[in-house]
């Protein structure tokens, strides 16, 4: 029974992939015919990993996303980004706004406050919706199957949730770990799902955007600072304790205080850079390998490259959960340092 289900799902997935990828092959050949003057890999890769006001699912098929901008001169303005393109797909000014390299300004050159639904914002919302739907289903499972073994999607997520609670939160934070569990679980699944969504063909590079990781790391920083107990602050203000008289300590502290204060910020800063760079580097790597076929214009390199890129994609699937784990684990360790009660 389960075996035939598995086969059915497999057949369905294969058909789906073929259907989705068929137009992109057609699109690919259109590119070769259209612009013969050479393939620019760095432009292609840069276009993929950066944010954009249009969502190009595959070449030539675009979803124009809404633009929401505010300027002192004109107030709020909402319109579709399709207005910036003419029928030849060239950028044109619209209503006194100019877009240049995805950067919108007034025609006079003055800056605007851009809060558009860009590709990354769209995927952020998609990710959030997915999490809300999935985890409200999991939560419903707990009320429905109260006292019984977990079922369905609940059974899939329970080991992960228990792993985060027991092996990450309890291990690193201690008895007060329950307060931090909502954040740790949210951040783990948010990053994991964001990474996986980013690996889909045509998707946005959500967790490879430094603004997204900046916000995630800032939340970790704020929680660490807010929950910091006296021992945590004493570690920063008086790290040497009673081992030395104040006269000698003070001279050392002239060097140690700046180091400790910088240390508060380097921890979340490294969280931010690690996630951003890992995911972006993975995307660049896969796209570079795929680009090799177009640079050398060889079918043989194309076959080898595609095989290698598939292997890299498998590695990226692992990196997706590893980075979510590392971010959650290090956040939990920072919280653990902040709430530590006794001195050693």
């Amino acid at each position: 029974m389960t075996h035939s289900n598995f086969l059915k799902i497999n057949t369905f997935l294969i058909t789906l992939f073929l259907l989705i990828s068929a137009p992109s092959w057609a699109g690919g050949s259109a590119v070769e015919g259209g612009e013969k003057e050479g393939f620019n890999p760095s432009e292609f890769i840069g276009h993929h990993i950066s944010d954009s006001h249009v969502w190009e699912i595959y070449h030539g098929f675009m979803v124009h996303l809404p633009i929401i901008i505010y300027s002192e001169e004109k107030g709020f303005d909402i319109f579709s980004s399709a207005n910036f393109y003419n029928e030849h797909h060239e950028l044109v000014p619209y209503k006194g706004y100019v877009m240049h390299h995805e950067h919108i300004t007034l025609a006079s050159g003055a800056g605007v406050f851009d809060i558009s639904i860009t590709k990354n914002v769209l995927f952020l919302l998609l990710n959030a919706t997915l999490l809300i739907f999935l985890f409200s289903a999991v939560a419903r499972g707990y009320t429905k199957n109260a006292g019984r073994a977990p079922k369905g999607i609940q059974a899939f997520f329970e080991p992960l949730i228990v792993f985060i609670r027991d092996d990450i939160a309890k291990e690193n934070i201690g008895p007060k770990h329950e307060r931090y569990l909502p954040f740790l679980l949210t951040v783990f699944f948010f990053i994991w799902f964001g990474n996986l969504l980013g690996l889909l063909p045509g998707a946005a590079n959500l967790t490879g955007n430094i603004a997204v990781t900046l916000v995630l790391a800032s939340i970790t920083l704020i929680i660490t600072l807010v929950s910091g107990r006296s021992t945590y602050w004493l570690h920063i203000v008086d790290p040497l304790g009673k081992s030395m008289p104040w006269g000698g300590k003070f001279l050392l502290y002239l060097i140690l205080w700046p180091v400790e204060i910088i240390g508060i910020f380097t921890k979340p800063f490294s969280l931010m850079i690690r996630l951003f760079a890992n995911i972006t580097a993975g995307h660049i790597l896969i796209l570079s390998i795929l680009s090799l076929a177009f640079i050398f214009e060889s079918v043989l390199i194309g076959v080898v490259g595609a095989t290698f890129a598939t292997a890299m994609n498998m590695l990226e699937l692992f990196v997706a959960i590893l980075q979510a784990y590392v971010f959650t684990l290090l956040s939990a360790m920072y919280f653990g340092q902040a709430v530590e009660e006794h001195h050693h």
Binding site: G46, V326, L329
Partner: protein, 68 residues
């Protein structure tokens, strides 16, 4: 220059992560029952080294992309 920088960063990180792998496998061989704890420590240390390497990668990228 960015490419040379990226190469040097990979050299350091590869050496570091290699040493962690060596240490972890040796410790697991000596004390197989502590394998899960050693694995956690190994991943944390590897992540920290990787973080340092990725700083270099980002600086290298900025060097390459900022030049244009």
């Amino acid at each position: 220059m960015g490419a040379i920088g990226a190469g040097l960063a990979v050299l350091g990180a590869g050496l570091g992560i290699g040493l962690i792998g060596k240490g972890a496998t040796e410790s697991i061989a000596r004390q197989p029952e502590a394998a899960s704890k050693i694995q956690t420590a190994m991943i944390i240390a590897a992540a920290l080294i990787e973080g340092a390497a990725l700083f270099a990668v980002v600086v290298g990228l900025l060097g390459v992309l900022g030049g244009n």
